[in-house]
């Protein structure tokens, strides 16, 4: 299990407008492409030097490809990263202000303290 890699996915997608739209529209394709091209990039390092060992577990891949933010919370993905990216992708589908954020909270309502550990 790699909370770090889940976070790296959320972080790199959230900061790229094109990737946000691509992940919204085609999650399976985007996650597969990302894992084969970006997962082992050392961010802020020049090209040609990369890591060799990072990959998702099947459960992590499934959580990302199914846009399952409840599962991501359970897996210990950083909740700020998940929230920010999912607001960017799905808030637009709701008419009332904050309706998506409130539904998001309600769908997590079965969690009580302590929440899943987010330390990486």
């Amino acid at each position: 299990m790699s909370k770090y890699l889940l976070n790296k996915f959320l972080f790199t997608v959230d900061r790229d407008p094109d990737l946000v739209e691509r992940y919204r529209a085609a999650p399976h394709e985007t996650v597969a492409w990302w894992e084969s091209t970006i997962a082992n990039e050392i961010l802020n390092c020049h090209g040609g030097e990369a890591s060799t060992w990072l990959s998702f577990s099947p459960g992590e891949r499934e959580a990302l490809t199914s846009h399952d933010y409840v599962r991501l919370f359970e897996l210990g993905a950083h909740p700020f990263l998940t929230l920010t990216l999912f607001i960017a992708m799905f808030e637009r589908d709701y008419e009332e202000p904050l309706a998506f954020q409130k539904e998001y909270a309600a769908r997590l309502s079965h969690f009580s303290l302590p929440y899943p550990d987010i330390a990486t």
């Binding site: 770090y4 976070n7 790296k8 972080f11 959230d14 900061r15 407008p17 050392i42 961010l43 802020n44 933010y69 919370f73 950083h78 909740p79 700020f80 990263l81 998940t82 929230l83 920010t84 607001i87 960017a88 904050l98 954020q101 409130k102 998001y104 909270a105 309600a106 997590l108 309502s109 079965h110 969690f111 303290l113 302590p114 929440y115 987010i118 330390a119 990486t120």
Partner: protein, 287 residues
């Protein structure tokens, strides 16, 4: 020596900019009260007549990332670009450019290292809303040079609350001993109880009004001892999963000093999280 003209601690609410600048038909019902409170708060900085601002905040996974995460970082650059695409997208924040004050950055870095804080530094730092929100609320002209100081309240393992207080004490000593004629204000922003990406987010109030009430009292009365007795890295999960941002308030209490009562304290109960505003004048209330 430099004069510590004001110490200011505040929440940083990224929605203030949008709420205060939206056309009348789009302004939320609480906007007028919010603007009135911010305008009064802004006056507490203006009357201190600062020349340079030390800005304490926390990067929200914008430039600082888990492959190389500093606990405390001081910016040392002639300029700081500010705000990021995802802050523009979610909060409508404008792109900004702030001047730096490299001499004071160097003084804090050198002095901090010599005091036992192994501070990281950055010569090219794009700052985020933890620093630009207080610029927008307190100094919208954005005309003063800054020294940004980032703390890690976000990516565990975090430094303990006591370390934030100690860094605040160190910053105070370093400004008091800075050989300069300038007037320095230290402005730091954090959170009261806050939940982000969890089941208690975006409620009608902050997730833990009782914590907020106690926290406001600790800050306003400068009761560092009580705050340290009640707050630990573990306990901060209870009021809300993003409440570790309260440690930036504790850092500011450290700058103000043990037992230092705030000269100005105000708060505003909003949906999602409570706003709180504090100002100290360590060298007397300006005329």
């Amino acid at each position: 020596m430099a004069t510590l003209a004001a110490v200011i601690a505040s929440t940083h609410h990224p929605f203030y900019y949008k709420a205060s600048t939206a056309p009348p038909e789009e302004r939320p019902p609480f906007a007028d009260e919010w603007v009135a409170k911010i305008t009064a708060f802004r006056e507490t900085l203006t009357r201190a007549r600062p020349d340079v601002l030390v800005m304490v905040g926390s990067d929200h996974f914008h430039q600082l990332w888990l492959d190389n995460m500093p606990q405390f970082l001081v910016g040392k650059a002639p300029f700081y670009d500010a705000n990021w695409y995802n802050e523009e997208r979610e909060f409508g924040l404008p792109r900004m450019l702030l001047r730096g004050h490299e001499e004071l950055s160097s003084h804090i870095l050198r002095g901090g290292l010599d005091e036992g804080f192994d501070l990281a530094f950055s010569n090219e730092l794009r700052i985020d809303h933890s620093i630009t929100c207080p610029i927008i609320t307190l100094r919208p002209e954005a005309d003063l040079p800054i020294v940004p100081i980032y703390t890690n309240i976000f990516a565990p393992p975090l430094p303990r609350p006591g370390r934030f207080v100690e860094l605040g004490h160190a910053i105070r000593r370093l400004i008091d001993t800075w050989p300069s004629d300038l007037r320095v204000a230290v402005i730091g922003t954090g959170h009261l109880s806050l939940e982000l990406g969890g089941p208690r987010q975006f409620g009608p109030h902050g997730p833990d009004p009782e914590f907020d009430r106690k926290a406001v009292e600790w800050i306003a009365s400068g009761d560092i001892e009580r705050a340290l007795a009640e707050v630990t890295l573990d306990s901060l999960w209870t009021p809300g999963n993003a409440t570790h941002g309260f440690m930036d308030f504790m850092l500011m209490m450290g700058v103000a000093g043990e037992g230092a009562k705030a000269d100005y304290a105000d708060s505003l109960d909003l949906f999602h999280t409570m706003e709180a505003y504090f100002t100290w004048y360590p060298n007397g209330v300006p005329a």
